[in-house]
Amino acid sequence: MRERMLTYIARRLALTVPVLFGVVTLVFALIHLVPGDPAQAMLGESAPPADLVELRARLGLDQPLGVQYERYLVGVLHGDLGTSFRYGTPVSREIAARVGRTAELAVVAMVFAVLFAVPLGVIGALYQGKWVDEVATGVSLAGIAMPNFWLGPVLAIVFAVQLGWLPVSGTGSWRHFVLPAVTLGAALAAMTARITRASVIEELRELYVLAARARGLSASRAVVRHALRNSLIPVVTVLGLQLGSVLTGTIITETIFSWPGVGRLLIQAINFRDYPLVQGCILLIATTYVLMNLAVDVVYAWLDPRIRYS
């Protein structure tokens, strides 16, 4: 069994390596999409020619494409993502200073989503077709339809501006997490609630649950003690599939709430035409996504032996 698992992990890893290689290649190619001369775009039309030559050399743009690619690959493998044009410091250092903040926000948002969505989905399933279910379904539908770049400002209007309960930006205490985490986690919570509801309804029809009910267990106890555990497998699947939207959601959420993470750094770098920093942020987010998908697949295989035998 252990051998099967290791074979599965090795096979999955072997599939990931070419994808990562492709991601690095695409990120390298990005700077060559800049219309005209990237150095000119960064320094502006009136930049002195000497400065342009110096920046081209610093970015390696004066070298043949093959050499540039080789240097980039070697650099990435050594954790060297180039130098930020704006800060004059290594890109990896700028990212490292902010990645923790983004991870904190993403984790808190996902925890919020699960803590909010699972009870909402269970309540919807228990009261299927009743007004409580209608309300729960309405809430989750609204969560899916509301874009986070709208929900964030609306939450700020209500809870920061009108009620004055929560800060609208910054970091430092748990109160600073509330609005960004709810904004980031709302769509995930909505989707998770819908899946939980559908999954619990399905599970409630299973014989073992009906047997538990026949023994006199109430519907809610039957859900909590029996159905919920099996219902959570599709929920884990959804959480895995939604990692991507959480990661890209951080870009918008951090911008709205001035959260000092990688997402905000990316937008600032774009506005400043700091192309090496843009490339570094994109590479980090995409690589994180690929590796997290790998981790999720391995966890599935561990949870469900049918996957590793297929």
């Binding site: 999409l33 800049v34 339809a145 509301m146 874009p147 400002p153 209007i157 918008i252 994109i282």
Partner: protein, 265 residues
């Protein structure tokens, strides 16, 4: 019932986009600086924005832009994805391998990250947003069509066409692609909601349509500076996006059930 409401919302959006200039006769670009942030009135039912422009006229112009981007991006993505997916699925072998690896790499970028990256490099503009969304959009259609093409190529009538000497191009165009179209149309309807949100997201981040052109994303972004004194500038375009997304999802569900009753929920 909800699905009919959804279809009605989409219909209203199309009507608003088409006849908007007659419903809200003010020009969406004309500024009345003396009346900036003016409240709701008979003349300006949704008030005036931070530069004194009629909010309703801008909302309708934004609907036109969203619809345009949605139709163009879905149309181009679906066309490219259908052809590429049909070729990969029908031929298999190395074309399928090459296309499959390319799709793997593009799918390694979560959500609109690649679109953000592309627009960041190409520069913010409507046409660059459209191209960036097509680059990330065609993959979904290609995957869908590839799967369908793998099934269709084994069907008797396709085998018969091959036995009669029909060329691969003819079989793909006359038999494989038509068989996959219903699924593509449903995915296109559902995908349009995602495209509209993606365009608004990029515009919100300052990477899409540039002011003064009215996009729902730029309107929300501009409204953020007036959360205290004019919250409706943020709330109204956001509600429009949410309603259209719900409407398109319901319309897509209805279309799916009509096209393929076996999947009716």
């Amino acid at each position: 019932m909800m699905r009919r409401v959804g279809i009605a919302i989409v219909g209203l959006m199309v009507i608003a986009a088409v006849v908007g200039p007659w419903i809200a006769p003010d020009d969406p670009f004309t500024q009345h600086l003396s009346q900036r942030l003016g409240g709701m009135s008979w003349r300006h039912p949704l008030g005036l924005d931070e530069l004194g422009r009629d909010e309703m006229a801008r909302l309708f112009a934004g609907a036109r832009l969203s619809l345009l981007v949605g139709v163009v991006v879905v149309g181009l993505s679906a066309s490219i994805g259908t052809i590429v997916g049909a070729v990969a699925g029908y031929f298999g072998g190395w074309p399928d391998e090459v296309i499959g690896r390319l799709m793997d790499v593009l799918l390694a970028f979560p959500g609109i990250l690649l679109a953000i990256a592309l627009v960041a490099m190409l520069g913010p503009s409507l046409s660059n947003v459209i191209w960036a969304l097509v680059v990330i959009g065609w993959v979904g259609y290609a995957r869908l069509v590839r799967g369908q093409a793998l099934r269709v190529r084994e069907l008797d009538y396709v085998q018969a066409a091959r036995a009669l000497g029909a060329s691969s191009a003819r079989i793909i165009l006359r038999h494989v692609i038509p068989a996959t179209l219903p699924a593509v149309i449903v995915q296109g309807t559902l995908g349009m909601a995602g495209v509209i949100i993606a365009e608004a997201s990029l515009s919100f981040l300052g990477l899409g349509v540039q002011p003064p052109a009215p996009s729902w994303g730029t309107m929300i972004d501009a409204g953020r500076s007036h959360l205290f004194d004019a919250p409706h500038l943020t709330i109204v375009p956001g509600l429009a996006i949410a309603l259209v997304v719900i409407g398109l999802n319901f319309a897509g569900d209805e279309l799916r059930d009509r096209i393929d009753p076996r999947k009716a929920s």
